[in-house]
Symmetry: C2
Subunit: 192 residues, 2 copies
Amino acid sequence: MDVLKQKILSEGKVLSDTVLKVDSFLNHQIDPVLMQEIGKEFAQRFKGFDITKILTLESSGIAPAVMTGLTLDVPVVFARKRKSLTLTDHLYSAEVYSFTKKESNEISISQDFISSEDTVLIMDDFLANGQAVFGMIDILKQAKARIAGIGIVIEKGFQEGGKKIRQQGYHVETLANIAKLSDGNVTFKKEE
Amino acid sequence: MDVLKQKILSEGKVLSDTVLKVDSFLNHQIDPVLMQEIGKEFAQRFKGFDITKILTLESSGIAPAVMTGLTLDVPVVFARKRKSLTLTDHLYSAEVYSFTKKESNEISISQDFISSEDTVLIMDDFLANGQAVFGMIDILKQAKARIAGIGIVIEKGFQEGGKKIRQQGYHVETLANIAKLSDGNVTFKKEE
Ligand SMILES: Nc1nc2c(ncn2[C@@H]2O[C@H](COP(=O)(O)OP(=O)(O)O)[C@@H](OP(=O)(O)OP(=O)(O)O)[C@H]2O)c(=O)[nH]1
Ligand SMILES: Nc1nc2c(ncn2[C@@H]2O[C@H](COP(=O)(O)OP(=O)(O)O)[C@@H](OP(=O)(O)OP(=O)(O)O)[C@H]2O)c(=O)[nH]1
């Protein structure tokens, strides 16, 4: 997605060989017009997949997911990393391991909002080692929902997540796939 | 806002005299079309306020804020309750007290995204005792930004937050103001 790649090149900051900071438009400040473009792009790529619902994870996944849900006209459910005032029981939960923190965290959704009747698009802002996406896949398997595919805004193609998820047969659509960050610059993968 | 009030009446669950659950369209599952309507409503109510930016708080504030930002064509910044991989220094922070948990939590934004040049609309999903909004007001005062006003999706008018914020002279726009939950039903305040 060219307008996204341009934004990454002009506003992204390469913090290390493995971390790209895009706080100015995706992870802290959000560019709503760009989010709407992202929503339209995902809706286009997943047209005909009969999606009934989108599943994402708080917090950075919410804006891209809601714009995609707006274009596809489907509800969006965001999994929580902590229980909330109203999310307390009848949950589907999964463990998500953090390589950086070397600890597992539980993500949950209410059983009320995803059922075996649903065909779900999983979405997230970043795909790195894939733990968050595998957690959401686990949740959808518990709910016996059909998984339409996975929509990712920025994939770090040099990390394992994308490869592992595709090897399991899931359809992954990535809007910007980064081949490397290792010279302080962003290098995108060549698109086929 | 009638379509929102209808949604609250048909899908909201009164959990107690003080808590309304709206997980099916605002706090866990999100209705993107309703969020777009909410965005247009806030944009209409704050037209002519010269807003340059919206400030909200993760997670439930994000969807309404991003839709409002889309209609007003301004960026949206969400304050974080915990540091993240890329939000670590040069922060404005404020304490937000929780009456339920009887503890304070720190919320933060990067100094990069709000300046004294900004005119900011504060937004949140619920207004109860107002601690989250006062935290965001504190942050904006540190940044020396002008505060255009506060946009709230659901206000519990029987709690103190709305009164305290208005008494300080801030312009508050609420889309659904609840007079009481105390008979197991939602009773809205009469609109002037
Ligand atoms: N900016 C940025 N973020 C990255 C990058 N790689 C991973 N992340 C984000 O970091 C968080 C993952 O951290 P951990 O759970 O500690 O996982 P990890 O060490 O195994 O990667 C996730 O944030 P999250 O759950 O999405 O948090 P939130 O932003 O939704 O609150 C993920 O999206 C990167 O290169 N740049
Ligand atoms: N559903 C619902 N939520 C209410 C109600 N009253 C307050 N809240 C939400 O509860 C959270 C506040 O909890 P505390 O910080 O413990 O504050 P409190 O005890 O002083 O009210 C906030 O969630 P938050 O920060 O917005 O969390 P998040 O949803 O963004 O993650 C607030 O929006 C209510 O009647 N119904």
